[in-house]
């Protein structure tokens, strides 16, 4: 069956696109990917999504997004797209060896936490190395942990981790944070938080069996290294767009963010639209992602109207 719309991704952008295309009777199929609900499902309180004056938990907000989209007929599948072929319409999307086709594709695959790129880091991911304090902080009660990064998310993770950890060391490669003032103040005023300035993580030591036991830290001023004992390492050094599947077919910037035409969600291919963090390196908010998801749905609907006259 050739679909009108396939949406790849299920964060605020993808599910808002699903809601709008469902209400336009386009019967959208949503591939939720490996993290249904997207990045908000690994956060706790969302305090800046309008309409929730008391705040709302990230996973709960995304359940509501999904319920609202499915109520109008969006089909959401917990499946991960493994390959696409956009060389000509209908566009093809594969989930392992199942092939799906559609007249329009809305890409809303978002972004993932950036990693340092160390071999030990990928080996110990889930065994003491984490990119999600709210998921894994619980396992570090009374332990010492390291947070790598200097932005808002690093401050947020560090502050959150003080609920469990006995000590949190923020490792930052510069001599000042780029995080917002309010977050920096909150972090620096916390007695459990210490900072290693001008320092980078050169290696992470440990085993899958026993977890992390220390990191090698390198002072960027004098290149001296030292071993620092710790039980966990949390990465908060920014994000990369999830566009590996698409960069061959679609124009993107050097970092991989998909280019969209000014004031729209159109990509360089007719009928392929991109919304949310996958094309936004600037705002990266749930509400802006939802807004651009709505734009993508309207853009797709207009495109289909023109196509069918």
């Amino acid at each position: 069956m050739n679909r009108k719309v396939i949406i790849i991704g299920s964060g605020p952008a993808g599910l808002t696109a699903a809601l709008y295309t469902a209400r336009a009777n386009l019967n959208p199929l949503v591939f939720e990917g490996s993290q249904p609900g997207g990045q908000l499902t690994i956060t706790t309180d969302v305090e800046n999504y309008p309409g929730f004056p008391e705040g709302i938990m990230g996973p709960e907000l995304m359940d509501k997004f999904r319920d609202q989209a499915t109520r109008f007929g969006a089909e959401c599948h917990f499946k991960h797209v493994t390959k696409v072929n956009f060389s000509e319409p209908p566009y093809k999307v594969w989930v392992a060896d199942e092939c799906y086709t559609a007249e329009t594709i809305i890409i809303a695959t978002g972004a993932s936490a950036k990693m340092l790129g160390l071999e030990s880091e990928s080996e110990l991911m889930g065994y003491g190395v984490s990119a999600c304090a709210t998921c894994d902080g619980y396992f570090f009660k009374d332990k010492k942990v390291i947070v790598v990064g200097g932005g808002d998310s690093a401050m947020e993770e560090a502050i959150y981790l003080t609920k469990f950890a006995s000590e949190v060391l923020i490792v930052h490669r510069r001599d000042e944070f780029r995080a917002s003032k309010i977050m920096v103040e909150r972090a620096l005023n916390n007695l459990k938080i210490k900072v290693a300035w001008n320092t980078v993580v050169a290696d992470i030591l440990g085993t899958q069996k026993k977890g992390v036991h220390s990191v090698m830290l390198k002072d960027t001023q004098n290149d001296k290294t030292r071993e620092e004992a710790c039980d966990g390492v949390f990465m908060a050094i920014g994000h990369i767009p999830n566009t590996d599947l698409f960069v061959e077919a679609l124009d993107a910037d050097q970092a991989g963010y998909i280019f969209t035409k000014n004031g729209s969600t159109a990509t360089n291919l007719d009928g392929v639209f991109a919304c949310g963090d996958v094309q936004d390196n600037v705002y990266r908010q749930a509400v802006t992602a939802a807004g651009s998801g709505c734009m993508a749905a309207i853009d797709a609907e207009k495109y289909l109207e023109n196509l069918h006259g």
Partner: protein, 110 residues
Amino acid sequence: MSDNVKEITSVNFETEVLKSDTPVLVDFWAEWCGPCRAIGPVVDEIANDYNGKVSVGKLNVDNENQLAMQYGVRSIPALLVFNNGAVVNQIVGAVPKNRITDILNTVISS
């Protein structure tokens, strides 16, 4: 939760997991974990698909902190595959169903 999924606790861990006649897939999870909620229904499906061949259990780390620590769980969801009383494989994070079933198939055929 599927009828084919057992709740695993420190009380029944030995009989249901360590002394099980079949391989056992244990899903370490918690209420507050978003990715766990995503993978929960997949684990239920697997319990139905593999009924009789693999037993499937869910272990709430909030209630059974000791078992989570004992098995070195530092990130959830963590899916541990036990066979003859020992961990023979494990997957951390919400992964597609076929990654889990591939592992189960290997364990069953070995």
